[in-house]
Point group: C2
Chain length 262, copies 2
DNA sequence: AGAATAGTGTCTATGAGACAGTATGAG
DNA sequence: CTCATACTGTCTCATAGACACTATTCT
């Protein structure tokens, strides 16, 4: 890493603050939602932001992100062996943002992480944040201004997120939309047992499209390793009882579940 | 970014050094190669490493990566408008590595970038690096120890890369292998004009497989926006003259060019 | 002529999308 | 009964992979 400088110039080393920011996504109702915290201090005081915090001296980036996630939501990172009381989430590194001036106070490089969680937990405000909530992604990004399809007429004007968090959130959402195509990650949005219909509603919420229930059923049950029947059935959605499944061992989907174009 | 700490703890802010490391890939002969520089100072003195350097105060991460790339190779980042003399390359952020102890001297967070370049330039050592070379990825990663297929019996023992650069390189290679499936990025390995056969050899080198020339031709010429004929022909590969193409405007390939499994 | 590469055509298996039709519960 | 959801089956079209065949150059 400290190689290839020409000429070698120690004065080029200047100290940065390094933080982790979290894009925590879940599906509530029929909408893709993200965790937002209200800022309790300047800059952007009172505005919504992504949760995050400094990386500490003894932890690596993934550990810092997992710690922040636990502080904000109580969620533990999915890890076979450690049984979590409140729920488990998928966590992965997203991208790093380090433009000069993205934080007016100092030079901050933020390593954003993406977390996918089931709907179970109620958000809990951590520490100095005055509040936390699950907000529909379309509200946070102000995507529905022209929307002819999504009928939204809420009073709340979409105050933009603090810092460059709108871009980070957009990048995280696009990563999630893309990854559930060719991986089994959509099950991270579901509780440990779920039906094919519930999994389909996850795909519909993340992609924002309607899917054919019959073709979807044939596809996901036909992909080896994606779903394993857990034996039980449920009728919590109404209608004929549906078979319950757990996530199978497969992480990569072959063939992929390509989202319909436009 | 500086939100959600509980309790708010200014002492948690400790200074990091932030660097960019580069995974620069090209196709030489029939092998995927990466740019490696020899370290001229401890730690890991004399060992091969990825090129990289500190992020300066006034530049963002992409600018720092582009500057390092130009210093090491003379390549300019692909950008319609700016005509580069030595050649252009694709550049994108890869991932960030920040484990404590990855650099024994201090806490360093490295934002790795991935660059894809055509074979034109000879590597030029920058500044304090005592040398630079294009090395086959399989040599740098020591992947060919058991290889029954790839006949390699070179004298050079694969001394592992310095720091955690082997992992960074592996991540970059995997990103490149995956991205040429569903994007037109493979053309970044080609000169401005190229034949279908040359493009196929790029895919074969990156994936390490043999592809059917006839199906490949039908596929790439049938994907709209991937290739546009430039009018000329060439016979530099021997055999019947081949039509020359340029990269089309499409960045995403639909349908994708899926690599054969196993 | 023979070797090498370029390019076209043809067959087959597989999967996606559209949609008919049946099964089983709640009210 | 009606309605909602679950599930199965069938048809058609597009595409991938395998491979025969022709075209054009070089040695």
């Amino acid at each position: 890493m400290i190689t290839g400088m020409s000429p070698y110039d120690p004065s080029a080393f200047l100290p940065f603050a390094v933080t982790v920011d979290l894009v925590v996504l879940t599906v509530r109702g029929h909408a893709l939602c993200a965790l937002a915290v209200r800022r309790g201090e300047p800059p952007f005081e009172g505005r919504w932001a992504l949760p995050g915090g400094f990386v500490r001296g003894e932890e690596n980036l993934a550990e810092a992100a997992a710690r922040e996630l636990a502080e904000e939501t109580g969620l533990c990172v999915q890890d076979p062996g450690s049984d979590a009381p409140t729920g488990t989430a998928h966590l992965e590194q997203l991208a790093t943002y380090g433009d000069p001036g993205r934080d007016p106070r100092m030079r901050v490089v933020s390593v954003a992480h993406l977390a996918l969680a089931p709907d179970l937990p109620a958000p809990r405000a951590g520490g100095d944040a005055e509040g936390a909530r699950w907000a529909p992604v379309r509200d946070l990004l102000g995507e529905d201004l022209i929307g002819g399809d999504g009928a939204r007429r809420d009073a709340e004007p979409p105050a933009p997120l603090a810092f460059d968090h709108a871009r980070i959130l957009a990048d995280g959402v696009e990563r999630a939309r893309s990854k559930i195509e060719y991986s089994s990650l959509a099950t991270a949005f579901c509780p440990s047992e779920f039906t094919v219909g519930e999994l389909r509603r996850v795909y519909e919420a993340v992609w924002g499209v309607a899917l054919d229930p019959r073709n979807f059923h044939r596809k996901v049950t036909g992909t080896p390793g994606f779903l394993v029947p857990s034996g039980g059935t449920t009728t919590r959605q109404g209608g004929r009882p549906a078979q319950l499944f757990r996530a199978g061992g497969a992480t990569v989907l072959n063939p992929p579940m390509l989202r319909p174009e436009i």
